[in-house]
């Protein structure tokens, strides 16, 4: 489980903003001196990282919304959150 608790409540840090960009043709994550392109699934994940929903709750919501296996969704969610945590863009 790569050391991430399913009870953790991920939250994008203040100063990190998910927004849509027409020029870039989709979602972008704006952070200090950095811009990341985010795909549609990533945006669905990050929109739920509000500091209130738990990791388990986010996974359950997405699995249900996309009719996808929980295991697979959990792997995707953890991979993205781990990357953003390493870049100091997200608190867990």
């Amino acid at each position: 489980m790569t050391g991430m608790s399913l009870d953790a409540k991920p939250k994008l840090l203040r100063g990190v903003r998910l927004t849509q960009s027409e020029a870039q043709g989709g979602w972008v994550l704006l952070a200090p001196e950095k811009i990341f392109k985010i795909d549609a699934i990533g945006a669905e994940i990050l929109q739920r990282c509000d500091g209130e929903k738990s990791l388990a709750g986010i996974v359950a919501e997405l699995a249900s919304a996309y009719n996808a296996p929980v295991e697979q969704v959990r792997t995707d969610v953890i991979a993205l959150l781990k990357t953003l945590k390493e870049k100091q863009l997200l608190d867990l």
């Binding site: 903003r17 020029a23 200090p32 001196e33 950095k34 392109k37």
Partner: protein, 362 residues
Amino acid sequence: MTVIGHPAILSGPIGILAELTHRCPLACPYCSNPLALEGRETELDTQTWARVFREAGALGVLQAHLSGGEPAARRDLAEITKAANEAGIYTNLITSGIGINRDRLKSLADAGLDHVQISIQDSEAASADRIAGYQGAFRRKQELAAEVVGSGLMLTVNMVVHRANIERAPAMVELAVSLGARRVEIAHVQYYGWALKNRAALMPAREQVERAVPLVEEIARRHKDRIVIDAVFPDYFARYPKACVGGWGRRSLNVTPSGKVLPCHAAETIPDLEFWSVRERSLEEIWNKSPAFQAFRGTDWMQEPCRSCARRDRDFGGCRCQAFALAGDARAADPVCHLSPHHDVVDRITASAGEAEYVYRG
């Protein structure tokens, strides 16, 4: 601006460096401002900056770096910030830390400011104040850093590294961690503007750079759960040039206090370039058609060894201003590249680095 991840998939202009004023209480000898500073009477007014940000937003620009000089020298900084925010642009305040108290910080946060970057000149007070040319700067910067973190805004500390302080790069990272910054830039002086004038005093010895790099890497690993470190070491010691501003006229633009639009902050050092102003034209027209932006866009302007180089779409031949400054030809390969026929100039400069007095900006 650094775009981490997949820079190739981003397109068009994404960042604007808004030099709101050249006025600054500090006098750092490596200041990136031009030697001929633009005076207060030439500065754009609030409404014009608001229009510039609206046009930038429409052009697809995602981030504004509110810089200077010291941007807080402008009384309308909060209004300008609000205008950028309303244009949908992420706002990054680049400040010396002088001129912003708790109330002013709150007004900036209320205006939608996303991020604060404070420059700190050294990890030791006396040296930091000497470099900044301002008594008490070190203490005031730390006070503002505490206010920023206390207010919940994200803080980056920018540590400018050069000959006099490169040995303390690890201590500077420790200081940034203790201030509660989530990000620290260990940014080696870039030799433009006042830094080019002071190059002999600022250039580190090769051994200093070689000692500092692994120490910074080690401390980055040690603190990876608390802070992210972006370290830029001097390109004069590199084998290949940097992809300066992500390519000329490709990802970013710079607006001077008086409204001139430049492909990079040093572009005016290249002779015979024609710059257009936001006073007369829209940002879109300037971005697409101004002679200065067209001059080195793409790869058609390149000479050998860039023209046939496999890296030409990655580093774009390096920096045009540096090519002019060191090789006397803005179309030449950046002489820091080991493939440049002028590379010996760089070796001579780095080998002759030594003690010299700073010339402070006025």
